[in-house]
Symmetry: C2
Subunit: 332 residues, 2 copies
């Protein structure tokens, strides 16, 4: 298939683009490099630098000679929860308005398939655990609200215009693959934060809340290896039906506590890693674990990398290699 | 207060503008007349014709000399449920993108208050009755989904930028006031449709579903007089607090069945009004009734025109007068 990957210079987008190319697909990456890194775009992908909201119509074309692409994988997004609270305008414009332009270009060009990166943040504070796709959606921050609005827009487009669409609601994506991993300027995800302590880039890791109703009192999250996530995207491209929009939660189904993650990082790195207990943060739920039963049943998806130490080890290998490359660059 | 009323040439917007002027407020109406009627803009209001998405920045100003308005009442919207299913692009652009431009202009200009016309359609098929504001939101059509996205955007803006915001979720608005009533080219609401049969503009009224689990087997809806709705807008303007976005359901709290509405129309008009039973329509819930407890408790709102015959009589007076004016126009 010939596929357009938006945000293909970012963490999840670049890993998925890598896997798509390995499986013989033709990939065009569009990324404005506002948070992505041109080095992460895999070899073999055509790279177009720019904002997908502005470029969608010209890249996808007017459909007069048929669609140029078999599908779009839409990763490009503003994705920092804290920033979204302080600067919602950036998220409503950058996520919703941008994606509406992309959807309109998909419609005009007759592009048949779309896979969208949605998020567990669309649910907000869960009523029960694990979270299923039919649970209420009550996002507690603008990031989750913009992703939910896009999910609803995709449903509209799919029903009206025949698009075969899938939204994949990621839980906590982690791990790395072949030189593509998670290393944002403003890092907010637990595993890279803990590993930054191991690397000496950060003094200690804060454990927000030690009195949650969980086995060890710290918050529990569902970590999914980015490679398992990439497999789900391939399956979604294959299985989606015209005029249908299906939403799938993607998690490993197992929850790990903050303390368990820190312990895994200590085991993998062999380093002590200082942790400090801190009060709960407002808006943090105690437990966020996905039911991925629908993806397993309908897509035939099987997460293969659910071992926490393996996830952490892949992230660690990536961050170490990045450090080495960065040192090498400084020497040049 | 000096108030901007978007969509003030439409049904609810023009009634609210009329009441605001009666209470001594200064009103500027912006309406692109795509579905509204310039004649409905009340005397005493300044009228600017155009799209609020395009005009918001220039009308509200850049705030350099302080805000020009004390508040915005945002009624302008695409609001036909059936059309939204067939042409979602028109609704995502026309409702969401337009409102995001308005929100940005509100932020830049420092306008302190916003009252937004939300809808019961944000809830979708209710899990229980009556519907409260904390019930899950699962819109079943793009119209409801776009209004929900706007509600979420307003929450974001209010929390980040200090806006005093209120969303009023209307149930079935009906009735008329001083020459402003409901008479759309494509009419989809029950009371005007039934009265169009009385006026001879329509042969009969279809009763969709006679086997619902309701007392007489026909669908039950919550009709609220447009004048009671206008009062809620005034109260929302007075009571809203900076940095807070509150959502209120607005209904009379009583449900009337389709057969009860038709009977009321027969009583009020003294005409037979032919009705024909028809199968249920997909997506129609059996019962949609609001709990307005929050508006009653927090706004001190009291719906005063809850008698169905009074609601129907006001709509009937309006439609008859409209017919007379139209005949007069044809004679000229």
């Amino acid at each position: 298939m010939r596929l357009l990957v938006t945000g293909g210079a970012g963490y999840v987008g670049s890993v998925c683009a890598t896997v798509l190319i390995e499986r013989g697909h033709e990939v065009v990456v569009v990324d404005d490099l506002s948070t992505g890194n041109a080095d992460a775009v895999p070899e073999g992908a055509q790279f177009v630098e720019g904002d997908i909201g502005e470029l969608a119509a010209s890249v996808l074309g007017d459909g007069s000679a048929g669609p140029r692409f078999d599908g779009v994988l839409h990763f490009a997004a503003q994705s920092l929860v804290g920033e979204s609270v302080l600067e919602p305008e950036k998220y409503w414009r950058g996520n919703v308005v941008t994606t509406l332009s992309l959807l309109e270009a998909i419609r005009v060009s007759g592009t048949p398939r779309l896979v969208f990166s949605s998020t567990a943040a669309t649910y907000g504070e869960p009523e029960s655990s694990p979270i299923t796709e039919s649970d209420p959606t009550r996002p507690t921050n603008p990031y989750g609200a913009t992703k939910l609005a896009i999910d609803h827009a995709i449903t509209s487009y799919s029903q009206a215009y025949g698009l075969a669409a899938t939204s994949l609601r990621y839980f906590n994506v982690a791990g790395a693959y072949r030189g593509a991993g998670e290393n944002r300027v403003v890092e907010t995800h637990l595993i890279p934060l803990v590993l930054q302590v191991a690397l000496g880039q950060r003094e200690k890791i804060s454990v927000f809340g030690t009195d949650w109703p969980t086995p060890d009192g710290t918050a529990v999250r569902d970590y999914i290896h980015v490679l398992d996530l990439a497999e789900a995207h391939l399956l979604a491209l294959e299985k989606a039906s015209a005029g249908t929009h299906t939403i799938y939660n993607l998690g490993s189904g197992a929850g790990f506590s903050v303390r368990e993650v820190i312990e895994a990082c200590r085991r993998v790195t062999g380093l002590p890693i200082e942790a400090a207990d801190a009060p709960r943060r407002a808006g943090d739920p105690a437990v966020l674990v996905a039911s991925s039963e629908r993806a397993i049943a309908e897509l035939g998806w099987r997460p293969a990398h659910t071992d926490l130490d393996e996830i952490v080890a892949d992230a660690w290998t990536f961050l170490q290699a990045l450090g080495d490359r960065s040192h090498a660059a400084h020497r040049d």
